[in-house]
C-alpha cells in the first residue's frame, strides 16, 4: 500500500498562506489538498450574525492559490468550515468567491456544496429523548435555549467528504466540519485506517503549528501509509521533530490523549513519535475506540443583546488612586438617570486587571496610565447607545475625592465617542448528540453538485 499525501495550506484558509511553501509541497507529489477555514475559537458572533470571519480579499487570494494548485495537478481540494462558522450563509459567501475565481481564471470543475446548518427539529427530538449531553462547562440544553438560537450547525465527520468524492466532485466546499475529517477523508477513502487518518488530520488542521519554529500560517504535508504517517514541512526554514509533534497533540484540547470524534475516541496514549529524516517525523500507534452509537457536536448561537462602548485613557494620578470609586459613581449616576432595566454595564480597566479581571494577582500595582473600557449590553442598540452616552457624559466630569483638576477627566481617542458594535451572541448550544442512526452522519449534511465555470 503506497503513501497518500495530504497538504494543509495552514491553520485557517483566509489568514494568508505561504505560496512558496505550497509550490514546494506540490513538488513532493500530492494526492489531495485539505483546508480548514473556521472554528468556534473566535466566539459565537459569526455563527449568530451570519458574518464571515476572514477578510474576503485574503480568502480570495488563498482560495485562488489552492484551487489553481489542485486543478492544475488533478488533485481534489476539500475545504471545510466555510466562512468561519459554516452555516448556510457562510457557505454561500465562500461559494460566491469560488465562482468569481473560476470566472476570472477560466476554471471549470464539479463543485460539491455540503450543508451543515440544521433545522432545529432533529436536535429538539434528541433533547427530548435524553440523547444530548453538554460539552464540559456548558449548561444542559433545554428546548427553550435551542429555540432561542439564531442558527444551529452540526460538525460533520469525514463521511460527507467521501460521499462527495465518490460522486466525482473535484472541489468540495463544506460547512461546519471536524477539522480532522477534512484531512482524513481522502486517506480513509483510499483504505487507510480511520484512527490513523484522523490523528493525522488533528496535526494538519493547525498548519505548521507542530513544526519548529511553529506557525499556523504555513503549509504542512502528511504521507499516510498502512500503519503510520510522516509529517513534514515543505518550507525549508521549518523542521518537524518528534518533540514538536508530540507537544502539539495537547494544543487547544482538554485531554492530552483522548479526543472525541463522531464515530469514536482517538487514543494517543501509546503513540510513538520517531524521526523519519532530519526534518520530518513518523507517527504510529494511534488507537481508535469506536462508539457504540455515533455522535455529532451541535453548535448554536443565541443573541443576548446589543453592545455599545466608550473607550478612554486616564493619566491623572489622583483619579487613578480613586478609580474604583469613580467607576462605581459613574455607573450609579448612569443607572439613576437612564431608568433602564435589563441593561448590563461592564468596565474593563487596562493597566490594572484588564486582561485577567478577578484572576489578576497583581491588581494592586496599577500602572501610571489606565485604559478604561465601559461597555453596555442592552435589549436594543438604541438603548445600549443611550446608556453608553450617559456613561461618557458622567466619565468626563464625575467629581472624585482628591481631584486636582476641574473637568475633562478622560482622554477619549475616538469621535464618535460612543461606538455601537451590534448584536452580541453566546454559544447556547455546544452539545454532543447521540444519533438515531449511523446514516445520520451523511443524511444531516445534504450535498448539492454544481458545475462551476464554462461547460466542458
Amino acid at each position: 500500500m503506497g503513501c497518500v499525501r495530504v497538504l494543509s495550506p495552514g491553520g485557517s484558509l483566509g489568514y494568508g498562506t505561504n505560496s512558496d511553501s505550497l509550490r514546494r509541497g506540490l513538488e513532493l507529489g500530492l494526492d489531495v489538498i485539505g483546508a480548514d477555514s473556521g472554528s468556534t475559537d473566535m466566539g459565537a458572533y459569526y455563527l449568530g450574525s451570519g458574518k464571515a470571519y476572514h477578510s474576503r480579499a485574503t480568502m480570495k487570494r488563498d482560495m485562488t492559490l489552492i484551487l489553481k494548485a489542485g486543478l492544475s495537478n488533478r488533485l481534489p481540494v476539500l475545504i471545510g468550515n466555510a466562512g468561519g462558522a459554516g452555516a448556510d450563509v457562510h457557505l454561500d459567501w465562500a461559494r460566491a468567491i469560488i465562482e468569481e475565481i473560476a470566472r476570472e481564471n477560466g476554471m471549470s470543475f464539479r463543485l460539491a456544496l455540503v450543508r451543515s446548518q440544521q433545522d432545529k427539529g432533529y436536535l429538539r427530538e434528541r433533547v427530548r429523548a435524553g440523547k444530548v449531553r453538554p460539552m464540559p462547562g456548558v449548561p444542559e440544553l433545554t428546548v427553550e435555549r435551542l429555540d432561542a438560537c439564531e442558527r444551529v450547525v452540526a460538525q460533520m465527520g469525514f463521511e460527507p467528504f467521501i460521499e462527495a468524492l465518490d460522486q466525482g466532485a473535484q472541489v468540495v466546499l463544506a460547512g461546519r466540519a471536524c477539522d480532522s475529517g477534512i484531512y482524513a477523508a481522502y486517506p480513509v477513502r483510499e483504505g487507510r485506517d480511520p484512527g490513523l487518518a484522523l490523528h493525522m488530520g488533528k496535526i494538519l488542521e493547525c498548519g505548521a503549528m507542530s513544526a519548529v519554529p511553529p506557525t499556523g500560517r504555513d503549509c504542512l504535508v502528511a504521507k499516510v501509509d498502512s500503519s503510520s504517517f510522516e509529517i513534514l514541512a515543505p518550507n525549508p526554514e521549518r523542521e518537524v521533530t518528534p518533540a514538536s509533534v508530540a507537544a502539539h497533540m495537547v494544543y487547544e484540547v482538554e485531554h492530552p490523549y483522548l479526543q472525541g470524534e463522531p464515530t469514536g475516541v482517538l487514543d494517543f496514549s501509546e503513540v510513538r513519535f520517531e524521526a523519519a529524516s532530519d526534518r520530518s517525523t513518523r507517527v504510529s500507534g494511534t488507537r481508535f475506540h469506536v462508539h457504540d452509537a455515533p455522535t455529532l457536536r451541535f453548535e448554536g448561537a443565541e443573541q443576548v443583546g446589543f453592545r455599545s462602548f466608550v473607550l478612554g485613557g486616564i493619566r491623572d494620578p489622583f483619579l487613578i488612586a480613586q478609580i474604583d470609586e469613580y467607576i462605581a459613581g459613574c455607573t450609579q449616576q448612569t443607572l439613576d438617570i437612564s431608568g433602564q432595566d435589563g441593561v448590563d454595564i461592564n468596565w474593563i480597566v487596562y493597566g490594572r486587571d484588564g486582561v485577567m479581571g478577578a484572576m489578576e494577582p497583581e491588581r494592586d500595582r496599577a500602572a501610571h496610565e489606565l485604559g478604561v473600557l465601559a461597555q453596555v449590553l442592552g435589549p436594543t442598540q438604541e438603548i445600549a447607545h443611550d446608556v453608553a452616552a450617559l456613561i461618557e457624559a458622567r466619565m468626563i466630569g464625575f467629581p472624585y475625592t482628591g481631584a486636582r483638576t476641574r473637568t475633562a477627566h478622560v482622554a477619549f481617542p475616538f469621535s464618535p465617542l460612543v461606538n455601537d458594535t451590534g448584536p452580541v451572541y453566546r454559544f447556547s448550544v455546544l452539545h454532543i448528540a447521540e444519533l438515531e442512526a449511523a446514516s445520520d452522519l451523511t443524511r444531516l449534511f445534504p450535498i448539492e453538485y454544481v458545475r462551476v465555470g464554462a461547460a466542458g
Binding site: 494544543y251 485531554h255 443576548v304 478577578a358
Partner: protein, 104 residues
C-alpha cells in the same frame, strides 16, 4: 533550592479548548526539568485554583503527557468566549501568574 517555573519550561501558554474552557500548557524541552516539575507536585487542582483565585470546581482537570513533555490544566471559563464581559476571546494571555510558581 527552589526555582521559578519560567526557568524550567520552554513555553507557557493559555488557549481556548472550545468556547467554555481555557487550557494552560507548560511545555518542556528538557526531560529533567519536566520530571522535576512533575515530581514537585505543584500542578494540582487546588494549587491552580488558589493561584488564579477561582473556586476549585472550575479547575476541570490536570494532565501530564510524557510523550510531549507537557503538563496542562484546564479551567472552566467564568464567561464563555466572546460572550458579554469576556476579556479574552481566544483565552490567551491568562498564563503569566504561572511564571513565578516556585518549584522545589
Amino acid at each position: 533550592m527552589s526555582t521559578k517555573l519560567i526557568d524550567l519550561v520552554q513555553f507557557l501558554f493559555s488557549k481556548n479548548a472550545g468556547p467554555y474552557l481555557v487550557t494552560f500548557d507548560a511545555v518542556f524541552d528538557k526531560e529533567d526539568s519536566y520530571r522535576r516539575v512533575c515530581d514537585s507536585g505543584v500542578f494540582t487542582k487546588e494549587r491552580m485554583a488558589a493561584l488564579f483565585k477561582v473556586p476549585v470546581e472550575r479547575i476541570l482537570s490536570v494532565h501530564r503527557y510524557d510523550a510531549g513533555r507537557v503538563i496542562k490544566f484546564t479551567m472552566i471559563r467564568e464567561i464563555s468566549s466572546g460572550d458579554f464581559g469576556d476579556r479574552s476571546v481566544f483565552g490567551s494571555q491568562w498564563w503569566p501568574p504561572l511564571i513565578a510558581l516556585e518549584i522545589e
